[in-house]
Symmetry: C2
Subunit: 219 residues, 2 copies
């Protein structure tokens, strides 16, 4: 089994993914700037699982001890968090879940100098890290209900085919279908979909709009 | 009924949309740089419909005679075509269907200086034109089969709520559900989805991958 560190895993979505992966049998580390808060979140998940499968650590230590790191922080903390874990994730896969939204209007995508948060992460971490962008549009409400089959699909972008394959497997372990959506440049789409789905959530007074890829054979 | 000009309507997708709208009872003009080619495409559609509802004109004249213009050209022809119709579309709605792809790799989104093709159109045409971005991800194969209910949804972006409402109605008339996806900045998502869906089409050896919005009530 893989050891997965969810950096910023005390946040809602990170915690939801951590829960699903721990439930699927993976070792999970919650990372936070504050190790005590990380441990509190880990205890919470272990109680839900009735198993001791999740632990909490500081972000850098979490990144050091994992096989695969998942970055789930607000875009405002993207660069500073990447600085903290840069050395620790060399040679590993980093899954970037960050979705930049306009600072004044969360219904609007935010333009990133590098093109997308995923591209910014790949540039910042260098070629020694295989950055894969995914899981931006997953609903926490659904993730936290372990019995629920997730109706929303995951778009997986990155420049390394094998890394994307591993992330598609992790999506499956968490109960979602995932698709190779092309190179890291295409992560602007998955990131921006967050703002699109926020528009739809507000218009319909719902919380869980998602996307489903149509026209593909499903097993 | 609305008179709709499909600028670049001799292309596959433009022609598919024109067919659906004419079938729904709208007056449709096919626009092309070459009026004779436009008329040939119009004749073809009228034959399919067994009705005389579509006519062909040059792009500028088509834009002048319509209520709503639809721009369906390769991104390489985007600016030059906008120049041709700029005066004629003042005061009207322009629906931009353009999806910029990387020149060397159509699996990759292309970065646009303005942010997206939709934003570029809005900037170029000025505030006198209400630009709405939509219909980038609609499959021609499905459009051309009039009996087929379309499984793929349409993301509608723009800065004018009433214009988006009219486009959502036009989508419905063409057999598709459409959603207000936010301001014109968000069109980078709908445009980029084209590259994402090309990746999925190639991987699964299919032609018609699309998206469906999940979690919303449907009537």
């Amino acid at each position: 089994m893989t050891t997965i560190a969810v950096i910023g895993g005390t946040g809602k979505e990170g915690k939801g993914l951590a829960l699903r992966w721990a439930h699927a049998g993976h070792g999970v580390i919650i990372g936070s700037r504050d190790p005590a808060r990380a441990q509190t979140a880990a205890d919470e998940l272990n109680a839900l699982l009735s198993k001791n499968r999740v632990r909490g650590l500081g972000n850098a230590e979490a990144a050091r001890e994992c096989d695969i790191a998942v970055l789930s922080v607000p875009y405002e903390a993207h660069t500073t968090t990447l600085e903290t874990i840069k050395d620790a994730v060399q040679g590993k896969i980093l899954i970037d879940v960050t979705a930049p939204l306009d600072l004044d209007n969360k219904r609007k995508t935010r333009r990133i100098e590098a093109g997308s948060a995923g591209q910014a992460a790949q540039q910042f971490l260098g070629d020694g890290v295989r950055v894969v962008s995914a899981f931006q549009n997953v609903s926490y409400t659904h993730l936290s209900n372990l019995d629920e089959q997730l109706g929303c699909d995951v778009l997986v972008c990155g420049n390394d085919k094998d890394a994307k394959k591993q992330v598609i497997e992790l999506a499956r372990a968490a109960g979602m279908a995932a698709f190779d959506a092309g190179p890291i440049e295409n992560s602007v789409v998955a990131e921006g979909l967050t703002a699109v789905l926020i528009n739809i959530n507000i218009a319909f007074k719902i919380k869980n709009a998602g996307i489903h890829i149509t026209g593909v054979p499903r097993s």
